[in-house]
């Protein structure tokens, strides 16, 4: 009964979404206030029914209802309850429901927090989001019904959740990532609404900016968690693989990075309007493209869901309608007159334009690499896979290129600046950082390392720029510091930029100084690595709730002092018989020690992989700062006062029903 109720709730949500897609949009064309006023109510109603469907599916999972096909395929009675719950989105059908749930959550947020906006805008934005919801609800109901029953051949127990996904990181990674992916639909909807209204002005940019920052922040956090999970769960200590599905999440992030900056220029200066609207369309289109790549089976990847050409065709048609439609709208309605605002070649606008270009090129580069195997296959030119060498060769220089701008950008003036002033601001920090970089490059054991020196140079340059900027804001000729000038906007930017520097530094150092050794080790064996001594103390077995594990106990010492006891495991899961490597990691800010068990070799001896990974934590801490920085900007008073200010004159038109 419960699954049927869930199915009905999903169908009702679909019908309401159709209403949301049509009625307010029609109202906006006819200037019908009643029809437009329905938008927030409908949006909240869609969210309510999707939430009911989601909750009922969760109940089916928690109650081990193996008559439901997705529960039987992805859960097991022995599975710990928290994983029964997260198993809901460890599969195509359930994760699609999560997608829709988060989309309707964003719709509700827009409905609740946009009361100060003109009714026409709110109606159009919510209607566009309603159209997206219609597409995804139809996709779920027609091709991927999560409530399908397995009757009468009901299995006694479920197939179990893939052991790789039985991990705390995977409980929150997909929801965070989807918050980002789906959140990009908000700036998209604002862009489409603005194109429909023919008003691409500063107020449009100001309205869509906080949404963009939040969505992009969540996307950053989601990608960070995915990378961290891959590092400790896949068992070989890599943190980024340029896998097609990783790229699918990374491309919207890169586009989003360009969008976040471009919106700033459009809001403050009213320029780059075409650019910004196009970036908003691209960012969401790329997240739809990611959905297509992951769920259609056109590319092979460790992450891909079960391939199904029928589903692929459905998303492709949906993709064609959404992206094709919005690009057509862009072609017809993009601002006909170039903005009359002028800026010189030496100005903050130009620097942000450079940033836009670099991130757009980076997106194209990743897109080409991801689709290249598909292109070659489509023209029968052979089977290819594009690996890290390509991506590193083109991507690393692009990121290195953008970093010098990151310092000069925030310090420079809008409209017109002079190189002489830049020199005045940055000469001293510049010299200091070159000196630091050169000396730190010698720190490694094997002499001067050019790459580390360059990374320190670029990362330090960005960090010093932020410090200099903060000081400039704080310093007061009167003597006291002006703390209020450190607005959430500025702090968010500062934190994110320093985070970016941290990511770059961590990535370069761990790539350059990583030490890794594959060994045969028996009980009593000792091994020296990166200045640490690893001793294998014992080997034993340990039973988990739904698996049996071989464990090895290692003592790690440095100069005779105990550092850590590490217990890597090799688990065999009962339901699937699948073997999983659980690496043991001793983490700290300057280095990780990483042990993974390979295969048993004879009596009490194991193939063991030992790794010493300096500064690998900086990657995730940096990414965390990028995400949190983006989220922090929303606290800026600007976004709240603007709503209050607008409330008064608009109230007559925008009597928005709650």
């Amino acid at each position: 009964m419960i699954p049927e109720l869930g199915h009905v709730a999903l169908i009702i949500a679909f019908c309401l979404a159709v209403g949301l897609a049509l009625i307010p949009m029609w109202g906006s064309m006819r200037r019908d206030v009643t029809a437009m006023n329905l938008a927030p109510t409908l949006a909240v109603a869609v969210a309510l029914f999707v939430a009911v469907a989601f909750a009922l599916l969760a109940v089916s999972f928690l109650q081990d209802d193996f008559t439901v096909a997705v529960v039987a395929a992805n859960s097991n009675s022995l599975l710990p309850p928290i994983f029964k719950f997260s198993a809901l989105w460890g599969n195509h059908e359930g994760s699609l429901l999560l997608w829709v749930l988060i989309l309707s959550g964003w719709m509700t947020a827009v409905a609740l927090f946009s009361r100060g906006l003109p009714l026409l805008m709110v109606a159009r934005v919510l209607s566009v989001m309603g159209m997206i919801a219609v597409g995804f609800l139809a996709f779920s109901l027609l091709t991927s019904n999560p409530f399908e029953r397995l009757l009468p051949n009901t299995p006694l127990d479920g197939n179990d959740l893939n052991p790789l996904l039985q991990d705390p990181g995977l409980i929150i990674h997909p929801p965070l990532l989807y918050m980002g992916y789906v959140g990009l639909s908000v700036p998209f909807a604002f862009a489409i609404a603005a194109l429909l209204g023919g008003r691409l002005d500063a107020s449009w940019a100001r309205w869509s900016r906080p949404w963009t920052n939040v969505a992009w922040g969540f996307l950053s956090l989601g990608i960070m968690l995915g990378s961290w999970w891959a590092y400790y769960e896949l068992g070989w200590g890599g943190w980024w693989f340029w896998d097609p599905v990783e790229n699918a999440s990374f491309m919207p992030w890169l586009m989003g990075a360009a969008l976040v900056h471009s919106l700033a220029v459009t809001e403050k200066r009213g320029v780059f309007r075409s650019w910004t609207v196009l970036l908003a369309i691209f960012a969401f289109s790329l997240s739809l493209l990611g959905t297509f790549l992951v769920r259609s089976g056109v590319l092979t990847s460790v992450h891909a869901f079960a391939a199904d050409p029928e589903r692929g065709l459905f998303i492709l048609i949906f993709l064609a309608l959404v992206v094709g439609g919005s690009l057509l709208l862009y072609a017809l309605r993009a601002p006909a007159v170039a903005s009359r605002v002028v800026y010189s070649a030496v100005s903050r606008e130009s620097l942000l334009m450079a940033n836009n270009l670099v991130f757009t090129v980076a997106t194209v580069v990743v897109l080409l690499g991801t689709l290249f195997p598909l292109v070659m296959d489509a023209f029968s030119l052979g089977k290819y896979s594009v690996g890290p060498p390509y991506f590193n060769a083109v991507f690393v220089p692009l990121m290195a290129l953008v970093m010098p701008f990151m310092t000069v950008g925030p310090l420079s003036r809008w409209r017109d600046d002079t190189a002489a002033r830049w020199l005045h601001e940055l000469l001293v920090p510049g010299i200091a950082i070159v000196a630091i970089a050169v000396s730190l490059g010698f720190l490694g054991k094997e002499g001067f390392n050019l790459w580390i020196a360059l990374a320190v140079l670029l990362a330090g340059w960005v960090a010093l720029g932020v410090v200099k900027d903060a000081w400039r804001r704080l310093a007061n000729p009167g003597g006291s510091l002006r703390w209020r000038s450190l607005t959430p906007s500025f702090m968010g930017m500062a934190v994110a930029h320093i985070g970016f520097a941290g990511v770059v530094l961590g990535a370069v150092v761990v790539t350059q100084q990583n030490v890794e050794r594959d060994l045969r080790m028996a009980v009593g064996d000792q091994q020296e690595l990166g200045g640490y001594r690893f001793e294998m103390l014992s080997v034993g077995q340990q039973a988990g709730p739904n698996y049996l594990a071989d464990q090895a106990v290692f003592a790690v010492t440095r100069d005779g002092q105990p550092v850590a006891t590490l217990i890597p495991e090799k688990r065999r899961y009962f339901a699937s018989g699948q073997i999983m490597t659980e690496a043991a990691i001793d983490a700290s800010i300057w280095r990780d020690l990483y042990i993974a068990l390979g295969e048993p070799i004879g009596e009490d001896a194991w193939a063991v992989r030992l790794q010493y990974k300096p500064m690998v934590r900086w990657l995730w801490l940096g990414a965390l700062m990028i995400g949190l920085g983006a989220l922090l900007t929303v606290a800026d008073r600007r976004y709240r006062t603007q709503v209050q200010r607008r409330d008064a004159p608009v109230v007559g038109v925008a009597g928005v029903a709650p």
């Binding site: 050409p309 006909a336 689709l371 292109v375 018989g577």
Partner: protein, 184 residues
């Protein structure tokens, strides 16, 4: 000047065309160099009987050669369908690939044995000659001992009806195979 604004749309149309083409090709389909050629020659032990067998033992065709192993999770999923096929009279030969023969015999005792005989390819040498990519894989060998078709991944009713049934003209309506799978 306005035409420039259609550039993103044009780019997207090209991309969509590529993606549409992409849907119809299977990224896991690998070019099978061996299709059309005789089954590579080998001399190996049979898994259960322990007697020596060669490529001549894989006859008479048409028959299936199924590459499997106990370490392969998908093979476990595929197994019931192989049993159903065998029950329908499709000759299936097994290639037990890079596996522990003791575990493999246990597996056949526990799950049932759909195979006429099994090549115990512990070192994966036959698999290497055949160009095996991973388990499971299934090949069709014709009456002439030549390889007619190769499938990478789980063999199920849909795949069999689409790509395999034409090599087994005596099989009749394959829908009944599915029914047999349900019964077993």
């Amino acid at each position: 000047m306005r035409l420039k604004r259609f550039a993103p749309l044009l780019g997207f149309v090209l991309l969509a065309g590529l993606l549409y083409k992409g849907l119809s090709i299977d990224p896991t389909a690998l070019p099978a160099a061996r299709v059309g050629q005789p089954f590579p020659s080998f001399t190996q032990l049979e898994l259960t009987s322990g007697r020596e067998i060669t490529e001549q033992s894989l006859s008479p065709g048409p028959a299936l050669v199924n590459v499997w192993a106990t370490w392969c999770y998908s093979c476990r999923l595929e197994h019931p369908y192989l049993l159903a096929l065998a029950a329908r009279g499709v000759p299936i030969f097994g290639l037990n690939y890079k596996d522990d023969s003791v575990k493999a015999r246990e597996w056949l005792l526990q799950l049932g044995d759909p195979y006429r005989l099994n090549v115990a390819d512990e070192q994966g040498l036959v698999g290497l000659d055949l160009g095996v990519y991973g388990a499971p894989e299934t090949y069709v060998i014709g009456a002439d001992g030549h390889i007619k078709h190769r499938h990478v991944g789980i063999l199920d009713e849909g795949v069999f009806d689409r790509d395999f049934v034409k090599y087994f003209p005596d099989m009749g309506v394959s829908g009944s195979v599915g029914a047999a799978a349900g019964d077993s």
